[in-house]
Structures are given as C-alpha cells and as structure tokens.
Subunit: 282 residues, 2 copies
C-alpha cells in the first residue's frame, strides 16, 4: 500500500482512478490538485480526495503523482513534476496521446521515474461528478516505452492497474497513437460531426427529441464529450486522425455513390463488409 | 383482447411485438408467417408464435395482421393482404420508411383497413433470437396518415401501442421519412462506414480487439445491423438519406479542415456546437 498519491486533475479519469485506489485500499491518502477551486471543492465534497494542495506541496508528500488533465497541459505539468521529483517518487500520466509527451520528456534527467500510460476507459461526461467506482475493470491499459521507466516504478504502476482489473498492453508511443486514432479518436469526431449534422438539418428539435431512439443515442452520445479534453487530443494526434478521417470520408462517399447511382448490389456489399466488425466486437 | 393476430416476419421487430402482445395478454393466439422454414421453427421453439401457417391461411383466421419484414417486400405483401382482407380485419406495418408504402396502397379499395406505423425501437441484431420482452416501452411510435384509416382500426392499433408503453406521434408520411433519415438512417450509415474505415485501415485486428473501448463500441455497434433490413430502407428513403449524408460529409470536412490548418479555435467551436445535442438527449 502506498502512503500518499497525488491526483493532478480530479475529473472523469483522475477522479475515477482515485476512487479505485481507495476502494481497493491501495493508498492511505489522496491529495488532489486542480487549477479550479470549484473543481477541487467538488472533489473533496464527493470524497474523491482527502485534501487539496498546490502542485508543489502535493508532490513533496507523494509516493506517486497521477496526471489526468488535457494532453496539451500534460506536457509542461509532467516536466514541472519531473523537475521536483526525488529519486524514489513516481509520476504517471493517463493521456489519450503518447508520442508528443514521450518525445517531450525524452531527455529529462528524471525520465526514468515517469511511466507513460493510457487506461482505455472513459465516458462522455467530465468533472469530478463524472467519476465512477470500479471504472477500469475489464479494460486495457496501454503502457508505452516500458524500457525507459525504472523497474520499480513500472512494477508499482502495473501492479496498481492489474489490481484495478485492467489488462496491460505494451506498445511504442507511435503505434499507440495510430491505434488510438482508429479505435477512439475517430469515433469522437464522427459523433461530434453527426450531432452537428442533425442540429444543422433538423430545425424541428421537438421531432428529434420525440423520435430519437437507441441507435441515434448510441452513435451521437460521444458528441457530449468535453471539447477541452478532446481538442488537444485531436491536435496532438492530428496526422493519424487526419489519415483515418480521410479514409472515413472516402467510405461515406462510397455509400453516397451507391445511393446516387442506385447501385444496390454494391450497397449490400459495403454493409456485408461492415458486418465483419462483429467478430471483433463479440 | 384480440382472438388471433398474425405476425408476418417473426424477427427482431415482429418477434418482440408478439412477445409484448402475449406478455400484456392482448391476444389469445399468435400465428407466425415466414418465408424461411428455419426462422418459423425457431419462432415456434422460442414461444414467439403458437402456430406457423402460410400467409393466406393465416390471414383468414386473424383479427389483425402485423407486417414486420424488409420495407421492399412490405409493399407487395401489404397489397396481397389487403386483397384478402374481410371488412372487420386490420393490417398494420412496422416499417422504417412510410412514404413509398403509403403511396403504394393509396388507391387500394381496402386502404382504410390499413394502419401505417413505425415503432421507433430496434437493436443491431436480427431474427427470432433477437426478439426481446418489453421492447417498446418508453419509445415513440409514429402513425402516418391517420385520416386514411378507419376509426375502429386506428383505435385498436393505437390502444395496443399505448398498452405496450409507447407514446404516439402523428406525422404525415413525408415528414416521417425526413425525420427518420436524421435520427435513425444516418446513424446506421455512419456506423457501417466507420466499421469499414477501421477494417480497411487497421490491419492488425488484434490491436482493435484489445484496445477498442466503450466509445468505439457504441459508435460502431449499428454496423452489425442486418443489410437485408437496411439496404431497402436506404433505397426507399434515398433522397432524404442523401441529403443528410451530404450534410454529414460536409460537417466531417469542417473537422478535417480545422486539423489540416491547425485552426484550433474553430475546432473548439465545432465541438462546442455539437455539445448542444445534450439538451436533446438528456
């Protein structure tokens, strides 16, 4: 059991991570760090953290610092923490992009105390109120550049994720970002764009409200996600995201062309092919 | 309580409708009609129907005939049933498009015994095994061209849907098809196209399998839907679907342009706008 963990960013991911640590009795005390006093107060009130401190003071007292903030601010914050770090301390991030961060800290003298991780879990909600118990169970957690982290730091971090019920996947940072673009980032863009499509075309909002069924809700729910979280992800992973987005637009154009030309056999072929996703999802 | 109801098409919708009628004790006997002997046997075995008969014999014995088959074959089948109908009998369809069917039967001498309905519920599964209990509760059911159906027929059909827990929405067939394109058909196309995108780009299927989280699953689950059901829907509603699809591709291009030009403020604006879908979904 760790004595003290600091969570930087006590929202959806950081808050859920804190609750999981507490539920599994993996830590005695959790300190929260937040740029927003309001968020900090909520996290305290919800029992997500035991205390709120400024970053520097929190780091001093901690065995492990867990950073779960938008990926753009993650860069300077991780550097800042690495600057403050004593030899036995560990810093971990939970960001949805890994290459920019891994490059950013590559030459830092304390790089070996950092573990780059991405627990593959999330919802469309944000803030401390979005934190849930037992969030990560059954999901994958990607660890990047294992070889650059100290063995003791890795063991502690991987042990935590395993105790939270996650399965570990090792990947280099570049591969992580490519795969994340396919299985996560593109889903968010299509969902945002679908929401804008419907909001643009469908002026009679009552009709959407009355008629929207489960199918619509499931494809569009990610459009409720936080722009402050997703904007930086798309920007940091823009080349991979653009690559997948171009392919996606091309695939949509195939459907469009089938409908325009009333090419029913090809339309059926496109859908039959899409059905192959069953063997991956089931 | 009705004596006998015939369900033409004992799959996801027809099967669930039959189970709901039985659970609510709204019918004494349900006869199933299916082109496939295999499907008919499954429906019998699962207790979805009490008996299986050829269409003509089934119609003879029934107070109400419920048609839940792909929308292309719905046209000739409804006409066939209307040809056979005695004055007090009722025929209802459950199709996802309404204009083509309503036009097709407009001049039929028995048009007044037909009720055009679309219960807005479904899943990505199909066949009798996909039928579930209490499927329709809390969902909307659109009734089109109410004024063209006999009052007694309407009352029986609307009464059934209300007893199944649905709320009724009246709409002309043209409006129905426009709204259905927005809130249902486009979601299926984006999901099919997203599945094809990922299957095309992501050759390492193990990586998808390991990493795909809840977000991916929710945007792509509709890609598991039956092409035999959705192909005819897209073709019958092609003008509306094309209209929404063009808008959707334009919306995706806006995201693409933001990323290409690294126009972060506009990217944030697009996502902020998409967030407005919250007030519709929540």
């Amino acid at each position: 059991m760790l004595n003290t963990v600091t969570i930087v960013g006590v929202g959806l991911i950081g808050g859920s991570f804190s609750l999981a640590l507490k539920d599994q009795k993996l830590v005695k005390k959790v300190i929260g760090v937040s740029r927003s006093g309001e968020t900090a107060r909520k996290a305290l009130k919800l029992g997500i953290v035991d205390e709120v401190l400024p970053l520097e003071e929190a780091v001093k007292q901690s065995d492990l610092i867990y950073v779960a903030i938008p990926v753009d601010v993650t860069l300077p914050v991780i550097k800042n923490i690495l600057d403050l770090l004593k030899p036995e301390q560990i810093v971990v991030d939970a960001g949805s992009t890994k290459l920019a961060l891994c490059k950013f800290v590559a030459e830092h003298p304390n790089r070996h105390r950092f573990v780059a991780s991405h627990p593959m879990w999330g919802t469309e909600y944000s803030g401390p109120e979005a934190a849930v118990h037992d969030a990560f169970r059954g999901r994958s957690c990607v660890i990047c550049e294992r070889e650059k982290s100290d063995a003791d730091a890795l063991q502690i971090v991987e042990d935590i994720y395993l105790k939270l019920g996650m399965s570990l996947v090792n990947m280099d940072a570049e591969s992580h970002d490519v795969h994340a673009a396919y299985v996560s980032h593109i889903s968010h863009i299509t969902s945002f764009a679908l929401a804008n499509t419907v909001l643009e075309k469908e002026r009679e909002e009552d009709a959407i409200f009355e008629l929207a069924g489960g199918g619509f809700e499931s494809t569009v729910r990610l459009a409720k996600s936080s722009p402050a979280m997703w904007g930086p992800i798309f920007m940091q992973n823009r080349e991979n995201v653009l690559d997948v987005l171009n392919e996606h637009i091309m695939q949509l154009r195939k459907f469009k062309s089938c409908l325009e030309k009333e090419n029913y056999p090809y339309l059926m072929e496109l859908m039959d092919n899409a059905n192959k996703i069953r063997r991956i999802l089931e």
